[in-house]
């Protein structure tokens, strides 16, 4: 009875899991999509975007941070949760400056596709009009903080996978910003490279290659078709 010993219920379906897996990992393995942004399969967990919030035995929690537990009941695809996730994405949109029509990442952007997935059609909240610093100092990569959602994916990738520790998040509350570990604070003064893992993991157009512009035509972009576990996994592997 190995099977039932390690399984839990997700939206009414039994899902097997391996001990130690998070709810997110178990769902991913079973091909079930739970909306997420700061989670990345290759990176240490973070749990900051809160998009993956599910209800575990009636209590709210992050699917990417909570370990799967035998016998627990998890709700994810409910109108209550999708509605709240929609508000979270709207919060991210008003906090930054996200202008999809002129963003190179459009169509391949996880923030945008998650917005589509949760049915967002407007920003709803008053925009913050935050002024953030653009860093074009690097030869290959552009850092546009207007599009940064503080997910710390690049921070973790650089720390843990590249062992370079190029990024950090500094500040408090709404003043939190992605900072670069160099005396000048500029990306150009680091040994960052477009081949780094950290250069591949940004879910938005914040950390982007300079030489690609709009790499593929509308219609054939990753998210021109509805989101699924497949496209997300493809994205996670390589942008």
């Amino acid at each position: 009875m190995q099977e039932s010993e390690f399984s839990f219920e997700l939206d009414g379906t039994d899902l097997p899991f391996e001990p130690g897996q998070s709810i997110m990992e178990a769902a991913t393995q079973a091909g079930v999509y739970i909306p997420h942004l700061c989670h990345h399969p290759d990176l240490r967990r973070n749990g900051s975007c809160k998009l993956c919030t599910v209800k575990v035995n009636g209590r709210f929690g992050s699917a990417c941070a909570l370990p799967a537990q035998a016998g627990c009941t998890v709700e994810s695809n409910t109108s209550e949760l999708q509605e709240m996730r929609r508000q979270i994405v709207q919060m991210l949109f008003v906090e930054g400056n996200h202008y999809c029509p002129f963003c190179e990442k459009s169509g391949n952007c996880q923030l945008q596709v998650v917005a589509y997935h949760v049915g967002m059609v407007d920003m709803h909240f008053p925009p913050f009009n935050t002024a953030r610093q653009l860093d074009a100092s690097h030869r290959e990569m552009l850092l546009d903080r207007d599009r940064c959602i503080q997910c710390a994916r690049c921070v973790r990738a650089s720390q843990d996978l590249d062992k370079k520790n190029i990024f950090g998040l500094a500040g408090r509350g709404m003043n939190i910003r992605l900072v670069v570990n160099s005396d000048s604070g500029l990306l150009g003064d680091t040994d960052f490279s477009s081949a780094d893992h950290a250069a591949q993991v940004c879910p938005t157009g914040a950390l982007i290659r300079k030489d690609q512009a709009y790499p593929c035509p509308i219609g054939s972009r990753l998210y021109d078709t509805p989101i699924s576990q497949h496209t997300i996994r493809q994205d996670a592997r390589h942008d």
Binding site: F93, V121, M123
Partner: protein, 180 residues
């Protein structure tokens, strides 16, 4: 039975949304059967009729004083107001200038830019003043529905309008939901 009325209007936008509306092709004929067009660049009527219209579609962002007056007048006359397109919803392409202080914009355009003959910031009272930033419409009036896209696909217009005319809550299918 009088037909429901529709009005459309543009602020700081490129008329792309209006073009996209026309892209519903021959369904425009069906639409005209269903509704009466009031104020619109398509009809060249400049103000909504006194008794108001049922559905107003507003395209474009707010970048100057005139946009504010236009939007407010339009809002007053529309029972349902729909923000159409990225510019109306988030500021869109006009909001590119939000990175740059407005005084620098004017400086570049009228005083210091290349090839300027008689440098002077225009001050004719007929000219609407620019606002410090470009704003989305929901900062200034209440918006009932939004149709995203740059421009929204023609089918999205169709889907939204038919829903509103039939008294259903509009909801866009995934391919019709897009921000670019």
């Amino acid at each position: 039975m009088t037909k429901p009325t529709i009005a459309t209007c543009s602020l700081a936008g490129c008329f792309g949304c209006h073009m996209s509306l026309l892209d519903i092709d021959e369904r425009i004929v069906d639409l005209v059967q269903l509704v009466q067009f009031d104020r619109s660049p398509l009809t060249d009527i400049k103000h909504c009729s006194e008794q108001g219209v049922d559905i107003g579609l507003i395209e474009g962002a707010l970048c100057n004083a005139e946009n504010i007056h236009t939007l407010r007048e339009f809002r007053r006359r529309c029972r349902i107001l729909v923000a159409v397109g990225t510019c109306a919803i988030s500021g869109g392409v006009p909001a590119l200038r939000n990175r740059i202080p407005v005084e620098e914009c004017l400086n570049e355009a009228y005083l210091q830019g290349q090839g300027i003959d008689q440098p002077q910031i225009p001050n004719d009272v007929e000219l609407p003043l620019l606002m410090d930033k470009v704003y989305p419409v929901h900062e200034v009036v209440h918006i009932d529905y939004s149709l995203p896209g740059c421009p929204p696909p023609a089918d999205a217009f169709w889907s939204l309008l038919t829903a509103l005319l039939e008294g259903r809550e509009p909801s866009l299918d995934y391919p019709l939901r897009r921000f670019d």
